[in-house]
Amino acid sequence: MSQLPTLLAGAGVFAAEETAEAVVAQSWLYDNAWLVFTLPSASFLLILLFGKRLPFKGAEIGIAAVSTSFILALLTAFTWIGDVQDQIAHGGEGEEHSLVVTDAGLGGTAGEAAESVAVALTAEAEEGGHGGDVRGAPVINEVEWFGIGTDANRAVLGTDANQPNQAPADDGHGGSSFSIPIGTQVDGQSVMLLIVVTTVSLLVHIYSTDYVHGDRRFTHYFAFLSLFTASMLFMVLASSTLQLIVGWELVGVCSFVLIGHWWEEKPNSDAALKAFLTNRVGDIGLLVGITVLYFAADRSFSINTINEMATSGAIERSTLTIAAVCLMAAVMSKSGQFILHTWLPDAMAGPTPVSALIHAATMVVAGVYMIGRLYPVFYEGFGIAGGNINLMAFIGGLTTVGGGALAFVQRDIKKVLAYSTVSQLGYMVLALGVGAYTAGMFHLFTHAFFKACLFLGAGSVSHACHHSFDMKADMGGLRKYMPITFTTFIIGSLALAGIPPLAGFWSKDEILAGAGVWPGTGGNGTFTIPFIFGLITAAMTAAYMTRAIWLTFFGDYRGHAHPHESGPRITIPLIVLAGLAVVVGFLNMPSPFVSAIGLPSSWAHKFEDWVEPEGVASFVGGENGFTHASPSLSLAIVATLLAAGAGASVWLYYKRLYARDPKATEYTAETGSIMTQVGALAVGHKVLEEKYYLDHLYTDVIVGGTKGPVARAAYWTNQNILDRMVDLVGTSSVAVGRFVYKFIDQGAVDGAVNASGSLAEAFGQILRGVQTGQIRQYATLLFGAATVLVAVFIIAV
């Protein structure tokens, strides 16, 4: 049995080569995937060069390029889906799924579930065992970027990307040659993100023509929007970790530029710097992690090779753990995970469409995407199979709860959404951390649409309210003035809160099932703590979105502008995104549901079929198998009830508040301080008998409990502890220094320190003499030094 994973991987590689060849022959689109990111980058240059002279100041070039990319991405996706469907039709995969489908209990007992998992496992093991068709093998097109060594050696290397172990060959002269290929990797995961990026980018481009209309750097804005799209697509299609780094940094630069779009105001440029610098922290992890993987995988940057070696066990477990921890740091900074998330809310200083595109839908999911790309590394490195908790699941869980709590106390509608994004990103990382790969990717997919919808909706609202984002001061009652924005925002929020049958429900439910705690779900382990975090967040999400909706759209208008519905260039993207937020969830319906409503079973979990890459699929059925959790109706009902209940409580809270004072935004004096509310919680049973039973329950226990102490504490932690951590370290080291100085340092050490100090000072003074500012003297030194060097060279050689 211990030999099995290796065998499986070998079979996988073989099959991958075969299918790759067959598919490449079929599709021009796979070969030319590079066009998808080349077009927007060309548009970047064109806009910079000619944008200002064109009638629409460069926006038309950007929109043309991105829509072409969008069409290419769509065609690629259709081709991909077609190929995968063919493979399912011809291979044994379809049967395997129907097996799981029929046996998976619909919220059945634990015993039943265990049995169904066992059946699924054996089915998959058999499937892999006879080396069947591997569904969704990546299509890789690579060219040599550069190589060192003789041509003969290099001809052997780097040309066949599907060949694992691109070890450097010895060229017979004691040196070694190597080759670094670059190229595109088209597989389910990259195609999925291509669709996300191009769709959202296109809609954001259209939206921006109205939103930043008349801005003094309109052309510049569109140029960088194009560059961002190009960089993101480049990263998505990367076939090697080197390209991944390049794309990763490029999107970081674009994010920096676009956050600081209105850099004349200090907070904006500060926010841009903060985003950039915080990301540098994680980048160190990325560099180290990828270097570790490069050497571990016999000097290969190829993502496919690394994944295969990680899966087959060719790389040691401890090495994988080190690499995974390093890469996790990068994920924490880029995808706003606790404790490096602080830049993301500040990044809302940028224009709202930028927030929607970069800081909600695409760039911030780069970290999640990277985990997905190198999933075998994380899966093996963190020992996800059969585990209870690991770093990734824990960080994800912490982030999802922490972010959700912080979203309660924000006045700024964009910050609510920003913390919500943090929370949802935590959800994705949590999903990947518990081994629910498909669920995490699916949540990434659905989240991109409804969160972009929400951000653009917030932008539309602020467009109507004199560019203010303050919900308490400048909003309220806007549903009467802007019905389209209101409707789409509601749809987006419901999707985010996970209310069926909108998109968020399906993906969130899959993640909760994937934690493997609920009876009958199976999964990869028993991740109790992440599961509880996930449930809490499900409730909190509904609650804070209800609060945001009430403050923005209900009650009486509190601002001083004359709100009005935005123009069609703003509302059409909103409608499209809201529509997507409704329908994309149906891509991955669980099979029991599909059979329950009488659809053909082939309609179930299409997303899983299409997206799950060969690298992950190939270890399905291994000894520490990667399994899909079974859906559970009871879990879905519980999670939905939690969300609906939390949302309804907040709703009633505001409803009562409104009854007292139409302009009020929160209880103040009449409900007393937070401490009495907590006291009320302590003597809960007495409160039950009181007249304001509901009031107390909603305001004090649920809302107050979350919104008050927990949220404030979390916010306080965020603002004070994390932000001041650096200060604290500095202060404490000074204190330690004083202590040491006072009691230890006065004697011999002091003399040595002083001596070295004055020595450095003296050298400085001497060297300062050289810096006379006399060009003649510099030239003398230059020529003199050159003479000496040449003389040394002559004598030595």
Partner: protein, 99 residues
Amino acid sequence: MFINQFLIFAAVLFCIGVYGVLTRKNGVLVLMSIELILNAVNINLVAFGALHQHVAGQVFALFVIAVAAAEVGVGLAIVLLIYRNRRSINVAEANLLKG
């Protein structure tokens, strides 16, 4: 004819040019010394062209002459600017880089 007679002649001119650059205070004289250096290099190029019976040496010498023309133009403009600002072209007085 030995190739060395040309090369050593060029080397001597080069060193004289370096000496001029290092000792002259007057900006125009520094420029003249730089011309000496460039000419020394050109002699080398033409001499090697003759040695290998290849026209590339001469072509590069021509390129160097063109670059030298550009260099003198810009250099004189800078010297004039210094003169206009300081009423002197003593390069020893231009020491804003002093540390």
